[in-house]
């Protein structure tokens, strides 16, 4: 993002986590409340990024392993004559999906709780910041009038 910009910038989705990273603008006259908000957002972003990157990579890896083991059991090569990767159809993959979901259930429950908590906190802080800014603006207006 350009140096003179006074707003946050959001980027393309991350390759592993599919989340979009945000670069936060730090205003020179940032109040403690605003700093708390920014730090909360940065921390949330980091947590989410860590979780999803790891989760998605695990998924991909386990999927590969599953396909490999199933193909081996069937006696099929990983790649056929044209060099294309052999895949299993949806019905065969269904077992994997079911398994993966139940294995990660606990992990998701924990993440859900954290996500909801973080989401509410950040939104509440945003509300506070917006309110403070609005009051400040009103006071400034009154002073000027």
């Amino acid at each position: 993002p350009p140096a003179h910009s006074r707003s946050d910038w959001i980027g393309p989705p991350d390759k592993h986590s599919n989340l979009r990273p945000v670069i936060f603008y730090v205003p020179p006259e940032e109040s403690p409340l605003e700093r708390r908000l920014r730090e909360a957002r940065q921390e949330a972003q980091a947590c989410d990024q860590r979780f999803w990157a790891r989760h998605n990579c695990t998924f991909r890896q386990e999927k590969e392993e599953f396909i490999y083991s199933r193909l081996k059991a069937k006696g099929v090569e990983m790649r056929d004559e044209t060099g294309q990767k052999a895949t299993l159809n949806a019905e065969e993959m269904a077992d994997f999906y079911k398994d993966f979901l139940s294995k990660n259930f606990r992990k998701h429950m924990q993440y859900n709780r954290d996500w909801y908590k973080r989401n509410f906190t950040i939104t509440f802080l945003m509300g506070q910041v917006a309110l403070v800014r609005a009051l400040r603006w009103l006071r400034w207006k009154k002073k000027n009038v």
Partner: protein, 440 residues
């Protein structure tokens, strides 16, 4: 043209309707015909588009059900494609009832078709300033509130209103529709607010406004509040308190029960089906002010319909659900998924037969609707037996036209209010069956 079509229709079915009744029906339909015509076309076309996309064999279940149509020219282009399709698609009901809040989540949303995705992905790879531009705001809010799904929800509520055995009151109808629409916008916005990281990870939903940072979560919540509060107030004060209460309850059910439950237990599907069943009940209570058996029947029909619709759809999304951590029957209990879909297809037959017993429609309704109900049950049975992608797709597409047709037939077979007044004197017993919660 509309009137002529209706006459032709009734000619085939030989429903003995009075001329007055026909005029009444035609008038009602005119109000919503154009609009729903448009919506249904859009809806059906996007589905057909998706059908052609998924013809590719090896693609890794990037099965994306439908989301909002983003480009109007896309729709126009595709509309040409479906014209050659049989006139089965033509009978458009004013209900186009794929409106349930749930179905939007999964099905009703048209997917980002390939071309817009390619155009957007170039855009996507750039860094964007997180500054809200006022001219972008309407589009952003439309996507936040899932406006097309909201429109379909409102249509379902209108169907409930239309089926109520009272004289048609335009003001009440408009207020109820507006209130329902606002409530739906609020609920959808909160749903998106809760699901940002999960939406980012699923193909179908990764272009939502909050995911892309086009709007801040605070603004999303404020928007939801500014839609929800006036919406429910409008329903409570402008229509009647019962409808308002149902609307508020539905918002609560959708945002605080269904949305979190999606990640906790497969029971979310049943809750979501209730969410979808409530709008027609709201329409009915808006018209009559009381919760009769008729309202519950209409709700029941929509409730049952959700299952073949959603279960068939979710069959193709198993990978995304699994990775995203969503607990859906199609992933964890595939046998149950198919059984439930079939069970509810059959339930639709039963419910259609109950309608004349409750004096909502004439006996022609179960007879005329039997073919379509049997057909969807047949597809449900095929899905149950084969459990593969093609049978799930067939069932899903059938559910898309099945519901509007069913509601349309129901409306044409609606028992005339005048008839009922006469009958009421003779069959006073019928009213005893209705659960009347009348309000002062």
């Amino acid at each position: 043209g509309l009137f002529v079509w209706h006459l032709k229709n009734t000619g085939i079915r030989q429903i003995p309707c009075q001329f007055v009744h026909l005029c009444h029906v035609a008038n009602n339909r005119l109000i919503t015909f154009q609009y729903f015509n448009f919506l249904k076309r859009m809806y059906v076309t996007q589905y057909n588009k998706d059908l052609s996309q998924r013809a590719k064999p090896k693609s890794d279940s990037v099965a994306s059900p439908f989301r909002e149509l983003q480009q109007f020219d896309q729709e126009k282009k595709v509309i040409h494609k479906i014209r050659p399709i049989s006139p089965v698609h033509q009978p458009l009901s004013e209900t186009s009832s794929r409106n349930e809040l749930r179905e939007m989540k999964s099905a009703a949303e048209t997917e980002d078709s390939v071309t817009p995705v390619r155009a957007e992905s170039k855009d996507d790879r750039q860094w964007k300033e997180m500054k809200l531009r006022l001219d972008d705001l309407p589009g952003i809010l439309a996507r936040l509130s899932k406006i097309k799904l909201t429109a379909l929800v409102v249509s379902t509520a209108s169907a409930g209103f239309a089926m109520a055995p009272v004289p048609f009151d335009l003001t009440c109808f408009l207020l109820a529709s507006l209130g329902t629409g606002l409530a739906s916008c609020a609920a959808n916005s909160i749903n998106q607010f809760f699901e940002v990281p999960f939406d980012s990870n699923m193909n179908r939903t990764k272009n939502r406004p909050l995911v892309r940072g086009q709007i801040s979560p605070l603004l999303a919540v404020c928007f939801a509040a500014s839609c929800g509060v006036p919406g429910i107030a409008l329903l409570t004060l402008g229509v009647n308190p019962l409808t308002g209460a149902l609307g508020a309850f539905n918002i609560f059910l959708y945002t605080c029960c269904y949305t979190p439950m999606k990640r906790m237990s497969i029971a979310n599907t049943w809750v979501g089906a209730v969410v979808g069943a409530i709008p027609p009940i709201m329409g009915w209570t808006a018209a009559t002010g009381s919760l009769d058996a008729g309202a519950l029947l209409l709700g029941g029909i929509l409730y049952s319909w959700q299952f073949p619709h959603f279960n068939a759809l979710s069959w193709g999304l198993r990978e995304d659900y699994s990775r995203g951590g969503y607990c859906m029957m199609s992933v964890t209990h595939p046998g149950l998924c198919r059984r439930v879909a079939l069970r509810h297809c059959l339930a639709l037959i039963g419910l259609s037969a109950v309608a004349p017993v409750l004096d909502i429609t004439t006996w022609t309704f179960p007879i005329v609707s039997l073919p379509i109900n049997l057909y969807i049950s047949y597809l449900g049975f095929q899905f149950y037996r084969d459990a593969d992608r093609s049978s799930s797709r067939k069932l899903f597409f059938c559910s898309l036209w099945h519901l509007p047709m069913l509601l349309l037939v129901m409306f044409t077979c609606k028992k005339s209010f005048l008839e009922k007044e006469d009958k009421g004197d003779l069959l006073g017993g019928n009213h005893g069956r209705a659960m009347e919660i009348t309000l002062p």
